[in-house]
């Protein structure tokens, strides 16, 4: 076994503690990812999936437990410091890009992840060529529209660009929070294909949340199911390969002892 890329060591988080609205969103979550491992997370609403990703990204501090990335404990780091090594794509296609900046300027911001931002410019000819090379991979023709403001792109184009930007500097960890949920099926499929290709060619350690059971079974090396702020099921590659959608539902019911009553889960 090599050293794990990500170790989530028993983290817990309660929102609004000590009030009637107190909600324990994460309960002693333990998770370890090998370098290059592509892990899918499923679970019903309020299961703690997004909270887990936010905790890893540092949007809030956890009550207990440690988060270690590539051997470095970053539990006490602020969000922007963790972001030097963590790429994220959000559910909302508007969140991952800067609308009034051009495609070129957005790429420059992505390109400087983890590097000091000074009084040089990353908008010159050599940079443009690199960005265009990368944009070509999206097959959306964005490489010919470097000067276009990102706000003028469609949701699908923006999300594909977000994905490219999040992975451009090959972060140690990629967090995908239902990044295709707001897209129509055709564009969702396109972004998923890009995800598969980029994650595999760059060998990125990835955590991806989805509500789509079919996507969950088709993609990734490992499948995690969350419920009530806990990981209730953790399937490796072989077990996952044998699973079908009904098996997955049955497994869920077995683990929780309750029927799965969530119409947001797409049965595929």
């Amino acid at each position: 076994m090599t050293r794990p890329m990500l170790v989530v060591d028993g983290i817990s988080k309660t929102f609004n503690p000590g009030t009637p609205n107190a909600k324990q969103a994460l309960r002693d979550v333990r998770l370890s990812l090998q370098p290059g491992e592509f892990v899918i997370i499923i679970g019903s609403n309020g299961a703690g999936k997004s909270t887990l990703l936010s905790a890893i990204a540092g949007r809030f501090s956890v009550d207990r437990g440690r988060i270690v990335l590539d051997g470095v404990d970053m539990t006490d780091w602020p969000e922007h410091r963790r972001a030097k090594a963590i790429g994220r794509v959000f559910q909302d296609p508007l969140m991952g890009t800067s609308p009034s900046l051009s495609i070129l300027e957005n790429m420059a911001i992505a390109d400087k992840r983890g590097k000091p931002r000074g009084l040089r410019s990353s908008l010159g000819a050599a940079h443009r060529r690199r960005y265009q090379e990368a944009l070509k991979e999206l097959e959306l023709g964005l490489e010919g529209r470097l000067g276009a403001k990102v706000g003028t792109l469609s949701g699908g184009e923006r999300q594909a660009l977000s994905l490219l930007m999040a992975t451009f500097t090959e972060p140690k960890l990629l967090l995908l929070d239902e990044h295709t949920a707001a897209l129509d099926p055709k564009r969702a499929e396109l972004v998923l294909k890009l995800t598969e290709r980029i994650v595999r060619t760059k060998g990125l350690t990835t955590l991806m949340i989805t509500h789509n059971m079919e996507h969950a079974l088709r993609m990734g090396d490992r499948l995690i199911m969350m419920h009530g702020g806990e990981i209730v099921l953790d399937l490796g590659r072989e077990e996952k390969a044998r699973m079908r959608v009904p098996d997955l539902l049955a497994a869920f019911e077995r683990v929780r002892g309750e029927a799965l009553l969530d119409d947001r889960l797409v049965l595929g």
């Binding site: 959000f90 969140m95 911001i109 400087k112 706000g151």
Partner: protein, 334 residues
């Protein structure tokens, strides 16, 4: 004619302030009320240093730093103190009122009989044998253009791009490792440096600094930025900073016009407020109407041809319509 020259010359100096307000109001998306205080601080700093025997040009440079310090305070209150941006600006502004009185030692400092930037330029025009207004305008225009050029350049550097993205989408820029506290503070310092510098030059141009000279300055700055956007447009940085400067000059002419029309100087602030209110209400409405027309046009095309986007097939028009509506929403939110 004196009114014409006066308006143009003041407009050029106020243009520096307007570019500062553009930096916070448009680039950072932060309505920064520090401006009323930092403008006066610039005037107070320059006047006090000149009275103390400083070279007026050196005193003017110092106002850049005192202005930046005012911006730093607002920035720290907002980012580290977690105080709402409007309130942070107001707090600094109110605090500066006392500080400005301290700096000047009294409510106003006269610069009559002192060597100022203005008297230096008058001396220059005499030695060149040209009209003094020609020299004023040439020098003020040069200073304005240099500052505009520097800001244009800065906003396209890696750091400047991060500042712009901070105002545009803080979540995104944080996810790429930018410390938004630092970019916000930097933007506020830069903005108030320009505002202070403008205040220092205005004090020398008018021949006095006064504790009241900054009152309503933020509104004048906003009026300049918005008038400029209507007149010049702001599709790029270069155009947007130009728009702020042009707007500042245009604003001076509006005021001059109101004064020639025998409007009482006491009513000028009300007039300014009305201009800003109209400029804030009307352009978004025009934009909405234009958008609706564009949507209707897109709907017509939909009936004739199914698609112009091969990737999207037949769904393209609803998708374009949706993205157009969402841009509209973003505009409203801002």
């Amino acid at each position: 004619m004196a009114l014409f020259y006066g308006s143009l010359e003041q407009g050029l100096i106020f243009g520096i302030m307007a570019i500062g307000v553009y930096l916070t109001f448009r680039v950072l998306n932060f309505p920064d009320l520090t401006v009323d205080g930092s403008f006066t601080l610039g005037g107070a700093t320059a006047a006090s240093l000149i009275v103390a025997g400083w070279n007026p040009w050196a005193a003017s440079l110092v106002t850049l730093f005192t202005g930046a310090a005012a911006g730093l305070v607002t920035g720290l209150l907002h980012t580290k103190g977690k105080i709402n941006g409007l309130l942070a600006g107001i707090l600094t502004m109110i605090g500066l009122y006392s500080i400005n009185l301290r700096v000047m030692g009294r409510a106003n400092v006269s610069l009559l009989k002192q060597s100022t930037v203005k008297t230096d330029l008058e001396a220059l025009s005499k030695s060149l044998g040209v009209d003094r207004h020609l020299v004023f305008m040439a020098v003020f225009l040069l200073v304005l253009l240099v500052i505009k050029g520097l800001i244009d350049w800065f906003l396209r550097t890696d750091l400047g791009t991060a500042v712009r993205a901070t105002g545009d989408n803080p979540t995104m820029v944080k996810s790429f490792g930018v410390d938004t506290d630092r970019t916000i503070i930097l933007g506020l310092m830069l903005s108030n440096a320009l505002v202070g510098f403008s205040g220092g030059l205005i004090a020398q141009y008018h021949g006095y600094a006064d504790a009241q000279m900054g009152i309503g300055m933020i509104i004048i700055g906003l009026a300049s930025v918005i008038i400029g956007e209507v007149l010049v447009g702001a599709p790029t940085i270069v155009r947007a900073t130009l728009a702020a400067a042009v707007g500042a000059i245009a604003y001076r002419f509006v005021i001059a016009l109101a004064l020639t029309a025998n409007m009482s100087p006491n009513d000028l602030k009300l007039l300014t407020a009305l201009i800003v209110i109209l400029a804030l209400i009307l352009p978004p409405r025009w934009e909405k109407r234009r958008l609706r027309r564009r949507l209707e046009a897109a709907g017509d095309t939909a009936n004739r041809a199914m698609s112009h986007d091969p990737a999207a097939g037949g769904t393209v028009n609803s998708a374009t319509a949706l993205s157009a509506v969402s841009t509209d929403k973003e505009g409203d939110a801002r």
